[in-house]
Symmetry: C2
Subunit: 571 residues, 2 copies
């Protein structure tokens, strides 16, 4: 089932749903002309279709493996990675000063989306590099940037992020890795890090680890954490690769999916490291990297949803089974109501999730270009939603993809199961989706709901306008926005944070439902009477109503939840 | 994480939720005394805990394999299977005349639930045997019953069902396997069958295949299908094992999960077969087997939900991470609101699904004992709901179990991922859950909704009574039943079946939501002020509201769905 890059879909969303033109109108992104946007979509799409996608199954059937201390990647990954690096697709938004394209994050998002459909396991490698580039652009010294950025942007070297330790997962502040200053201004880093994606491999000359560790005089918790660059090979003065550093790949995890991505346990033993940002200021730099990565991971979910959808649709269009009840049907199982419902759900949800991630990207770009608090707040608000809903959609759509395949869906050779097994981790890494939901109702509502209300104003204003020509679509979207507004009002009035947390995950999902309704309505209004209006109609009548149950859950508070004691749970 | 059989849970549900006493009051089930029920639960629970559960991971890590034409099962499966057979747990409800216990299907359901938690892949083997026993009890000749039933009931031989062919999955009528009569009254069976669970193995002396095939003069479609018994080894007169029959294991599938269960492609080449039931009457006998199996597969989902829940709860109680916001907490991640929400959801959903399967089993038992049309209709109505909601719950709970584990959930050694990979197929086999939903809105509503209305009357009457002491729980359940009633009224008024099919899957789920509310309310009323009331409160406030969105979807009709053309889907 060859993957087909949804170039038209990006064009449409950019033009009619998230207003990319408003980004291109900013001087900072003057280069993002319609011609450039077109060229990037088409060319990156071509590489994904022709070079990357054919390697997808290899990653699953021939996982990365650790041989004599060295990680060997899956067959074909070197060629595919080479094409990604050569095309400049590692760092579409990186600073042109060091070889980047300087294009909006919206363009990076579209490219990451396509790469994720084509081969999620491989795409994770440049995604991590992107995060490292951004962290270095903001926090590294001039020398470090001059040395590392050209190598990372070209893809000659790759980046990793080293946070997690066995006792320090979601609670980063509990980490124990140590850093000691040397006389030459460098540091000696020691400790063990786990879950290091692409922690070692043979695709690039060097692997650059950004490592969180504690200096001897550090305070406990997150305030005592510093960030260090610890490359696998110590760079030479001229940007070449010198002697091996004190970092060793102990083992690779045996995972449910994403087998093509080596997940390493790394042991740092007095490895040479360079401080990034100030001492004890590591969390701030790491947050830069993580914030970028949150959107990036949400987009991974969208990309997998697209891949799984195309795969299931092709199967369904081809599969003949049973008598159809429709006249002039295709003769395939697409004619069956429940199969069509599943496919329509997959398509409608993928659109909603993609629109949310691209709206988040545009908000980041507007914020970068204008520096206004409003766009910063919008980007901050949308990031946890993009991450959690994007990945939840990837999982749900991949799961439906299996179901569309029937018995064939459970057989690995079909490839349908791989999408689900691969994408499952995206709801966990980069902050579990539960953590995203807590972020949404706490930090992102610390403004008293201002950013959320601004977005709801926009939605309701649009729905008001749409009410004239499409009342049956506009009215439910307006009503849903109003229910969400009441829920936000309820949330911000809760002084006890746990009252917000208790329903935070359903709240995030309910929020995404309303956003999905809004973006579907925009799409319908842009092409009245067309396929997009029909898809919007399906979504608004059948999927949008879920927001009521979800938001009721969000407003239920913590009392009945904590009334259920651990003893009750174990009873 | 050792599995603990939930014996108290079965006791409670039998006593307070599904009224097992009404079954035991029937003469047919006079042996199901409280003492016998207790002994079965405790002893079967002990075997599951001590002998079966320890083999769960083996099935995944050392899959069944085909060696020189013979299937070798996973390490330890022989011992575990031996204990199941020896305890009499293959055929709790089978006729005592041939060695069964003659106990209610409700007891079989409880035993299957525990076996499914302990090792789903292995449990599938006796589950198939159970279906075969029932088919033979109803449709085989006296001689065939005398020969096969003692062997199947004791577990010395096992049974399989052979329906699917590459072009004939959900559409059984498209099958092409052939049967030709021989002079001695037997038949020669030829053809290829796929997806044959436990199609070959080394756990028992003989493997008895029930095979659907066509006689030369057969009509096309399901009306021309006959059923044959085709044993791997031709039995001798005295019930021993004779020469090998003409059936060959061609290959085993490489599946997403359930690796311990060998899924075979079988080639029948003029194999000797014996007719079961009349010529061209195969579908009826097969339906007996399939109907039994539908409840059995729903129970598989419940069992996996229980296993995944216990596994996740143990992890969460042990795992320390981050600061808790609750006073006097456990210090583990159970204190975190979203983790507690996930665990409470898992527990509340497992209870709802278990109550539905046991209510279905009780309806089957009442129907068997009394033969009344009312109980037959109740059993028929609940069967597709038990199958689809039971398995969907298994999948959803196993998925939440992964999420509770965080990063560890994606690492296979933890065992959390196996539950999801194993249980995923249960939504597909024995009629996909989409097929179940179609069955519910078409065949099971062919009575104009009578069976559904009778159940809703029962629910509303109970809610009325409960309103006095627990108004905040009873009112939402009554309201939900009323919304479901309106939806059923809408459905049965639709002459166009596709208008029902278009929302059939959400309808089935919405129906299950209402049933869940009812059974939780019964549990709360039985133990007011206790843990069960607290769990009911959680379910009714947070999960029950989903029925509104689901039933709105159910009433949306087919128009907007079919307005989305295949071209739209491919756009």
């Amino acid at each position: 089932m060859p993957y087909r890059a949804p170039v038209n879909e990006f064009r449409f969303i950019f033009d009619h749903v998230v207003d990319l033109a408003s980004v291109a109108a900013e001087e900072r992104f003057a280069e993002a002309t319609p011609e450039t946007v077109e060229a990037v979509l088409v060319e990156a799409g071509r590489v994904c279709e022709e070079v990357v996608a054919p390697t997808l199954r290899n990653g699953d059937t021939s996982p990365a493996r650790l041989e004599n201390g060295v990680v060997r990647t899956s067959p074909g990954f070197d060629t595919a990675y080479g094409a990604i690096a050569e095309g400049g697709w590692v760092a579409v938004s990186a600073d042109p000063e060091h070889g980047g394209m300087g294009l909006p994050v919206a363009m990076t998002t579209a490219v990451n989306d396509m790469l994720s459909s084509a081969n999620l396991a491989l795409q994770l490698c440049p995604l991590l590099t992107q995060g490292q580039i951004e962290a270095l652009e903001h926090h590294a010294s001039d020398e470090m940037r001059a040395l590392y950025l050209p190598k990372l942007i070209s893809g000659e070297w790759t980046g990793t992020m080293n946070l997690t330790e066995p006792q320090a997962g979601s609670d980063v502040g509990a980490l124990r890795s140590k850093a000691e200053a040397d006389e030459d201004g460098t540091y000696r880093i020691s400790g063990q890090k786990i879950y290091i994606s692409w922690g070692d491999h043979d695709l690039a000359e060097n692997v650059c680890h950004l490592v969180l560790a504690r200096l001897p005089d550090a305070a406990p918790g997150t305030k005592g954490i510093s960030l260090f660059m610890v490359p696998k090979y110590v760079p030479t003065e001229d940007g070449g690769v010198g002697p091996a550093n004190g970092v060793r790949t102990v083992s690779l995890e045996h995972k449910m999916g994403l087998h093509g991505s080596p997940t390493a346990v790394l042991e740092f033993d007095e490895a040479k490291g360079w401080l990034v940002g100030p001492e004890h200021g590591g969390m701030k730099a790491m947050f830069t990297m993580m914030n970028n990565a949150r959107l990036g991971v949400g987009v991974q979910g969208v990309g997998v949803a697209e891949g799984a959808y195309q795969h299931a649709l092709a199967y369904a269009m081809d599969r003949k089974q049973g008598k159809s009840l429709v006249e002039n049907g295709t003769g395939s199982i697409v004619d069956h109501a429940d199969v069509r419902r599943m496919l329509a759900t997959m398509k409608a949800e993928t659109f909603a999730a993609r629109a949310i991630t691209l709206a988040c990207a545009v908000a980041i770009d507007r914020s970068t270009a204008s520096g206004t608090a409003e766009w910063q707040a919008r980007a901050a608000l949308l990031t946890p939603i993009a991450k959690a809903f994007g990945t939840d959609t990837g999982i749900a759509v991949a799961d439906l993809g299996i179901q569309v395949h029937g018995g064939m869906g459970f057989v690995e050779e079909t490839g349908a199961a791989q999408y689900l097994r691969d994408v499952r981790v995206t709801a966990i890494y980069e902050g579990t989706n539960g953590i995203q939901a807590m972020d949404l109702v706490a930090r992102k509502m610390a403004d008293g709901g201002e950013a959320a209300f601004a977005l709801l104003d926009e939605i309701e204003a649009f729905a008001e306008t749409a009410r004239e020509s499409m009342p049956d679509l506009a009215a439910p979207v307006w009503d849903a926005a109003e229910t969400l507004r009441e829920t936000v009002e309820w949330l911000v009035a809760q002084g006890d944070l746990n009252a917000r947390f208790a329903g935070s995950a359903p709240f995030l999902r309910g929020f995404a439902r309303v956003l999905g309704g809004y973006y579907h309505l925009r799409a319908a209004m842009a092409e009245p009477g067309g396929a997009r209006e029909r898809l919007a109609r399906f979504y608004i009548a059948r999927i949008l109503p879920e927001h009521e149950g979800l938001l009721a859950h969000a407003r239920a508070g913590a009392e009945d939840l904590y009334a259920l004691t651990p003893d009750d749970l174990a009873a």
